[in-house]
Amino acid sequence: MPTTTTSTSVDVVDVHKSYHHHRVLNGISLHVPANSVTSILGPSGSGKSTLLRSINRLIPIDSGTIRVGDQLIGYEERGGRYHALSDRDMCRQRQRIGMVFQGFNLFPHKTVLANLVEGPQVVLRRPKRETEEEARELLASVGLAEKANQYPGQLSGGQQQRVAIARALAMKPELILFDEPTSALDPELVGEVLDVMRRLADGAETTMIVVTHEIGFAREVSDQIVFMADGVVDAAGAPGDVLHADRSPRMRAFLSRGLH
């Protein structure tokens, strides 16, 4: 896949986040090496999505630090204190971090091609011809070359999610966050999206963090599995080590519910 040239690590240290006295993240810490694929699993309500959204600061955190590469997310260290970044600097940080959403969130008023070139042209201010060429290559790589001039509403859910992945890739991100990318899809469309993600993972040119309920997929492609419960990491490690029913009662309960 024509994607990125560099990738980056992610370090989450002692992050807390509450909504109205309800603690969602409870001092979570996590290391994601560069070029690796990390899947975050866990029962619903365990804080998986909140963690993912705090990495590109769609959600501001209450305390702790998140670093992508050597950059502190949302703040800058000056004189021993953390100062909140300006909107502009925050945008610059987000340019390096792609995101794929559960509900696709394609721009419905723009064609598929326009969805892909929006970021490169408007945010990165790159020339029209070059970005369109790249966008067409990306579309071809997710198997949707012929859909360039259609509107998202004319595509199936699986096709929309593949376009959404291509849109994230068009920014050449060092890190891509996947927020339950197949949860909103009809069962027969899950496969095509997982295929695209699998190829992306095999290419290993970008760091991927995937929040998912697809345990089989996670086991197969991940370098690291993070099992979350109650806003902390319950277990983290290689898939074979983490996904064992006898590891903890929680894991047993999760696996017995999750395995199809």
């Binding site: 502009r88 340019q95 995101m99 969130n105 945010v123």
Partner: protein, 304 residues
Amino acid sequence: MTTELAEKAPLQYVARRYPWRTVGIIVVLLVGLWGAITVATNERFAWPTVISYLFHPKIMAGLGMTVFLTFIAMVIGLLLGVLIAVMRVSESRTLRWSSGLYVWFFRGTPVLVQLVFWYNLGYLFPQLSIGLPFLEPWVSVPTNSVVTPLLAAILGLGLNEGAYLAEIIRAGILSVPVGQREAATSIGMSRAQSFRRIILPQAMRVIIPPTGNETIGMLKSTSLVSVIALSDLMYSAQSIYSRTFEVIPLLLTVSIWYLVLTTILSFGQSKIEAHYGRGATAAERGIANRNELFHLLRRPGKGA
């Protein structure tokens, strides 16, 4: 079973008949015909007079003023409306509250009162000054030399329209799913970029139909400026019939012009709707249409 059916001659579908519909059509046509004949043959309508005034210089000048006022008031209303709508959905409580107060006041008082208020601004503030508060002003001029009837009309109509459009635009902004802003943010767009390129274009689909209504409403609301002696279409007609007593024919003349203008506006509206409907599914367009219907039902007239 199937073979039995297949052996028979191919079946034909026969459309159901609706006799009452036919009756309805006949009644409507008869009433329409009767109305047309009555209006055309009743000499008191004085159609020749109506037509003779159609391009009267005074009427033409009034028509120009009406179009100008409608245009300028809508432009001011739209600019104010976007500003106030953005304040209304702001994270700052002060901005939300103050913009809410603006809408509450300008929507809650009659336009007629607002027009007269601006017209009489000189009574409340005889001098308009530029300078710092509590200090000697740098420049000071009599209010009445600045707030002419034209400016009073523009202020009155524009500020009032801003309050209505703010609510329409706010509804439009809120109609765009949160995920759209998140997606825009995730590709590194600034707040301004995502509002201009992602949120607003999608909000337009919801904003356009009621704004079209507002424009047509504004066209007719401009007739209220006749109370502050500004010679719009209505005032021009009044000034003619107060001399000639041809009240009905002149009202018919201006009605024809109002109808011509609203027809043009409706046509323009459907063109703009088609433009912003790009990419929308039939179901989504249905939602926009329902919003329009809701708007029409909720607010039958702005009234003076």
